[in-house]
Symmetry: C2
Subunit: 345 residues, 2 copies
């Protein structure tokens, strides 16, 4: 079996179950925000109080509208799947829709779902499960250009920043592809590599597979995972960095945190410390690696405080500093295109 990425067919319908709070629907909102043109609608159960803004439909209507995948866009409290949800999954699978989930439970283990999928000729796609037969990293230089988002911690905007950079590069007429490494990212991109679920020996190889050779003017924007000073997950980040062999990276940082979230004995590193560490590690497979900007999450700051933070980090690092949600990423994109001019024809 030739190994490849996890892949999701489109268009899709997003399933929200009966959740009451947007916080449980982050994946659903993500796929609608970033991939709305491929979304035929949302399926909600009675009692659901969350709305992603796309038209409501049932499974038959989704099928009629051409949907090929049924993306579970919400998480149930406690991580289990209520039986009322499973009934909808069976109906969708039996109707021929691939069921796509990023859950801790395997879809195959839900009652009757494997049978329904067999009847409907549909696939059960657990995006947390990496492809089989991954290669070992070779370190071979690939054609095309790559940018990686690198965090000072987990959950500080690496996915959003990568999505925004890929979008904003396209707006400038630069060919670019968002390369997903986590479950929500994979659902948004429609393909990707759940890098933290890969067996340790194959992390660099999986990262190489994720961003293959491309044309010289093309940018892969790779979603970062983990953090380089994280006592639990740094090995994932290091493997992704060396396998991605990025030309450029952007540091993502939450300026209000003081320690690694959930690992309070570990102080949060500064963006400068992460820039130095990522540069020295990344040189192994790309001697020209450099940082091109800092992305702050200033969602908890008021506008004046935000401006002060952005200016302060820009001064500390000598690099463009943005909040991708509040200010967009244009300043970083400009710096990137200045540092890496388009190759001559």
């Amino acid at each position: 079996m030739k190994s490849s990425l996890v892949r999701i067919s489109t268009p899709f319908v997003v399933f929200l179950g009966d959740i009451k709070d947007e916080i449980y629907g982050k994946t659903g909102f993500g796929v609608v925000q970033w991939r709305g043109t491929e979304c035929v609608g949302q399926v909600r159960l009675p009692g659901c109080r969350v709305d992603t803004g796309v038209p409501d439909c049932d499974i038959a209507a989704a099928r009629a509208a051409g949907a090929k995948s049924f993306i579970i866009g919400s998480a149930a409290v406690g991580g289990r799947i209520p039986s009322s949800w499973v009934a909808s999954l069976r109906e969708a699978a039996a109707a021929g829709l691939d069921i796509v989930a990023g859950l801790h439970v395997r879809l195959e283990d839900l009652e009757g779902l494997a049978d329904a999928a067999r009847r409907g000729g549909s696939r059960l796609i657990n995006v947390r499960v990496p492809p089989a037969e991954l290669p070992v990293g070779t370190g071979r230089k690939r054609t095309g250009r790559r940018l990686l988002t690198v965090g000072t911690d987990c959950a500080c905007g690496k996915k959003y920043t990568a999505l925004a950079l890929a979008r904003d590069l396209k707006r400038r007429g630069v060919r670019s592809t968002f390369r997903a490494t986590g479950q929500t990212g994979i659902m948004i991109a429609g393909e990707g590599m759940p890098i933290d679920a890969v067996v340790a020996d194959f992390v660099t190889g999986a990262a190489e597979l994720l961003s293959p050779d491309n044309t010289p003017d093309h940018w892969d924007v790779v979603e970062g995972q983990g953090a380089l000073f994280h006592p639990g997950y740094l090995q994932v980040t290091v493997g992704l960095l060396v396998g991605s062999q990025p030309d450029a990276f952007v540091v993502c940082h939450d300026p209000l945190r003081t320690s690694v979230e959930g690992w309070e004995a570990f102080p949060l590193p500064t963006p400068m410390a992460v820039i130095e560490r990522a540069t020295s590690l990344g040189r192994l497979t790309n001697p020209g690696i450099r940082c091109v900007g800092v992305a702050l999450n200033t969602s908890k700051a008021d506008p004046a405080e935000r401006d002060r933070l952005l200016a302060s980090y820009a001064r500390q690092t000598g690099l463009p500093c943005v909040d991708p949600i509040a200010t967009g990423t244009d300043a970083i994109v400009s710096r990137l295109l200045q540092e890496f001019p388009a190759p001559q024809e």
Copy 2:
């Protein structure tokens, strides 16, 4: 299920199949060399031309001598298991011996073996398969002391150096335990963690589990894996380093190599470069980490050349430099005990 290490019952008998060349019996020679007192003998098939030096026996005699495990100490050419070997495995499993293998094929997939194990009440132990339910690394400081062997490349003496250091510490009256991270090491130690087969997210946690809290005077000597400047495997090394949180490390180096074996585009790093990198990465979980010596593999050098090499690396690094096979590790052990005096009662 509480997660734990891969564990092998003793005493054991070593199985060599019908191999013709010692190179295919490295595991068998390793377990006999390092664990001979727990080995009741060797089982060889007709045509075998390799001898580990322990008494020949058949499966019934091994059982009668108290053997609890049947360790496959040889690899077949091409990685497959010949059917003549499988017959012996079935016989041993049916006789109640645990079958222990570090092969790429799973023992469960060999014809009739699972049935034989059920009949005999024996276990099939694939030492390449990590335990289930591993934890995420916490970074919490553990009691007791730890030393890790760190290579400038793969296959340059990390296992042998760790075994020799643990043995030589014991000879000085210092409590120490060899902690195995690879298949042969696990067979020698009787337990361990196949660290490169662990899912990426859990490498630091698996390393923490491997060397738990201990008394303040005790040294865990952890077998290193991979290499910090290795484009394929560095993520394994980094996770093992940070999860082991070693107080001390020893750099293992083959002075005749010029590039990473099998990755010829990558120059071999110097021991000094590895010392700097391991120190800066290891500080995350142990700010006092330091290098206490260099172990060279000089097996291809004549005695004069060996002396010249040892002196040269000692000068470059300012550290004791040994060849564990040719000179023993005493110089490093002395340095270690000087840097880390026994705690006062």
